[in-house]
């Protein structure tokens, strides 16, 4: 194995290093979808990928490192953004893509597993945040186009409109358990478009780039949500 010089992120596409990485990430994704993060194991991933155990340990080091690289790879695998000429059409295309992914048995289980891992692994949380930053940035231009067309007010937070389109679908996946069907996707898109047209997503005055996570200065409430 030629792993010595191959840190994640420096692989050349098409070479043996890239083939090994693809096999290992596929195996990691399969294992996460089948068994969840708690049972992810580098030796098992190596066996599934038919790759030497030493290679996997040397290149990825820990399961956290492996999941972070999987998320980097997932972020690179985007589909081209659909342009329909209207905000509602574009958001509907986005919502249906998210819904189909989350409703897919393997992909839905994989997203649940990495989101669960991120709740207790700060490095996985960072990798997950980067993944969503990339996805949201890819789709935000459709909101800018809606601003340019006059569909949506100037000063609208384009990224927030994309996040708002996904949020109800993740809420179904992770908390309420309600059906993740195409009607849910269309409703999420319609709600985000309507709220955007009404000016409900103004850019905040907070300096961009800050991400302090969760505010710590709030009073302690009862179990409310």
């Amino acid at each position: 194995m030629d792993a010595e010089s191959a840190e994640p992120g420096t692989v050349r596409p098409g070479g043996r290093t890239a083939r090994v990485r693809a096999a290992v990430l596929q195996a990691a994704g399969d294992s996460l979808a089948e068994r969840g993060f708690a049972h992810l194991d580098l030796a098992d991933v190596a066996r599934r990928a038919e790759v030497g155990k030493t290679t996997v340990y040397r290149r990825w080091g820990t399961v956290t490192g492996l999941v972070a690289d999987l998320l980097t790879d997932m972020a690179e695998q985007s589909l081209p953004r659909t342009e329909t000429g209207s905000l509602l059409g574009d958001l509907r295309a986005n919502a249906r893509l998210v819904q189909r992914t989350l409703a897919d048995p393997r992909q839905g289980a994989l997203f649940k597993a990495v989101i669960a891992a991120a709740t207790c692994e700060p490095k996985t949380a960072e990798a997950l945040h980067r993944f969503y930053d990339i996805r949201v940035s890819e789709w935000a231009p459709c909101v800018q186009q809606a601003i340019d067309r006059g569909e949506v007010p100037e000063g609208t937070d384009t990224h927030e409109v994309i996040r708002a389109t996904s949020a109800p679908l993740y809420y179904r996946l992770l908390t309420s358990g309600d059906r993740l069907d195409e009607a849910a996707a269309d409703r999420a898109a319609e709600a985000a478009a309507a709220a955007a047209r009404a000016g409900a997503y103004p850019r905040s005055t907070r300096p961009s780039g800050t991400r302090p996570g969760v505010s710590r200065s709030t009073p302690r409430p009862a179990h409310v949500p």
Copy 2:
């Protein structure tokens, strides 16, 4: 210990059984918030609660049973719904309550832990869905009042408006990592109110009470969300 006849859900408030349950559930919540679901352990919970190990094993049986009972208890601890006289005011009160809870270090960690557990434990998922059903049902009347006042169209799905108010806050907590501050709560409320006024949440034609989880008949997509 008088645990023999005390199944979860049949405890009498105020008695020794209720005091034992309160101590055990407090300890379970503390452990989940500090260490996550993967490290939840009945013997450790018994020690923290200063309750006999046998009592905890006999009454709750498994960590899954204990988490389900904790969620039942959390569902019972609601605060009274605020009535402000306008849909936006009511939704803002709801969103701020959710935001304060999720932004609280202990409570936020506890919610992350039970949501993560629900991704891989079907019984925990059922208990979590029941928790959200109860919370959403408590707040849905504010949307009905908005319908009655003519603020929102007839036929609006009152529960869905409440879920839509929470969804962006859970999205921040679990996926994007963006700041969970009061501005995020107010924006979530404004967006849900604007979308509701625009008629974006019509009641679906699906028979109520069905919850088939995730549709299984969709084509397999790339890693898109």
